[in-house]
Symmetry: C2
Subunit: 269 residues, 2 copies
């Protein structure tokens, strides 16, 4: 199997996203290897050794995705027995021309703490954790967003993703069995109705997820799952709470759809 390397003087997240987006277009499997924090010529030479060894062992030239701007390190990586893809170089000069400004070839630290949004993200994680699953109903004033939905409809991972990636303080509140008979917005959420966003999910998928946690329980029964979902969807429609069905969506997709629908301001791009 051919190896794909993702290399950078920082986290290599940009190289990973770039390489993965390209390779996902091809119906092939790859070995993946990330080499992060290649900051010196010595480290670049060690990376080169590793790449050249992969070329020898597999008999196929590795694909190397990188974002180096330091010319000496680039030269070392470019001299590997590999196919080199540097996505920055194709774009820097057209953007320079358009902007009329030169790029500053500093170390390429897109994912470092130096972005001024960083503390917002950590604060948002702390907020979201403290306000997960209805654990604190007195604190919604500070929320940017409050996710509601039945148990296991995706509220917690989505809340954490919104907080960690985008610095959005996201509380979440579960509607549980006891609420279902006459489901309504709880009094403590009413003042924050504009922050509510509903999640729903197909009954079969909900049953599968719940069955993995509590097999053969009322909680995971078809009847219970269907009843809960019907109740929350009716509530969302009656109260005009925006909502999405998470059944076929990743946490990234749920998040992107919520951002698009709410127009919420994010702290990081």
């Amino acid at each position: 199997m051919r190896t794909a390397f993702y290399i950078s003087d920082g986290t290599a997240i940009t190289s990973e996203v770039f390489g993965h987006a390209l390779l996902s277009l091809f119906p092939l499997e790859f070995n993946h290897d990330t080499i992060a924090f290649v900051e010196t010529e010595q480290q670049a030479l060690a990376a080169k050794d590793k790449i050249n060894r992969a070329a020898k062992v597999t008999g196929e030239k590795p694909l190397v995705f990188h974002t180096f701007v330091n010319p000496k390190i680039r030269e070392i990586i470019d001299s590997c027995d590999a196919i080199i893809y540097n996505f920055l170089e194709h774009f820097i000069s057209p953007i320079e021309q358009e902007l009329g400004v030169s790029a500053k070839p500093k170390a390429h630290r897109t994912h470092s703490i130096h972005e001024n949004s960083y503390d917002n993200r950590i604060d948002a994680v702390n907020y979201s954790l403290a306000n997960d699953d209805g654990s604190n109903i007195t604190n919604y004033e500070q929320a940017d967003l409050i996710l509601v939905g039945v148990s296991r409809s995706g509220k917690t991972p989505t809340s954490l993703y919104l907080a960690l990636q985008y610095g959005i303080k996201t509380a979440n509140y579960p509607f549980i069995d006891e609420d279902m008979d006459a489901l309504k917005i709880p009094d403590f959420l009413k003042p924050h109705k504009k922050k509510l966003f509903g999640l729903t999910i197909d009954a079969q998928r909900l049953m599968d997820i719940r069955d993995g946690r509590m097999a053969n329980s009322k909680y995971s029964s078809a009847r219970q799952c269907r009843m809960e979902i019907r109740a929350v969807e009716n509530l969302y429609k009656k109260e005009k709470i925006p909502f999405i069905n998470t059944t076929k969506l990743s946490v990234e997709e749920i998040t992107a759809k919520i951002l698009a629908q709410t127009g919420l301001q994010r702290y990081k791009y």
Copy 2:
């Protein structure tokens, strides 16, 4: 201010990472706008309207970063009054040549649920939440990694990031004031010593963070912070627990360094 648009038929995360990596090289400020889930020609035309409006309002051509592979949608986006950067097109044909395989121009869903690693990530988030901050000391058998460190040294955000992004089940355990007199690895962690990874932080930064939570307390005092840090660093060295100093690192950087040092297998690239 010039506007940068990030557009895609999916989450637009790839376009955002791509555009942000490029724009971060320039000493300029931009307005950022993401248009996700542009899946139909009608939605592409709506995006075009938005882009052209930004061109008119700002008097400067917006920069548009996209990853469309659908030719009809590309044609619409390419016809905008904007500078268009499509990072896929430059790389697809060289990769096709190298691999001897044609790209499959399907909708570009890099961040969708269809990756088979998805359930691992959600399981890991649930595990990390249930095993945050020493809340469950009977469950370390399942951990891929156990972060240790003093309160507010970065354990929780790092655990959640490792879980959410990479599907790595990360527990974390805090060393607290009462432990410090004769700090050692607690008995329940000893069988899992190989999974331990230490975080440390500069005393001044720790004081600042703790002061934000509990001003003028023993907890946030210079003396206490210095003492705790000295104790945990001595423990790490004595017990040969690998560790890093998180003071100047983002959660992405801490994570990348942990992955590099431990060689942990991740479930997602």
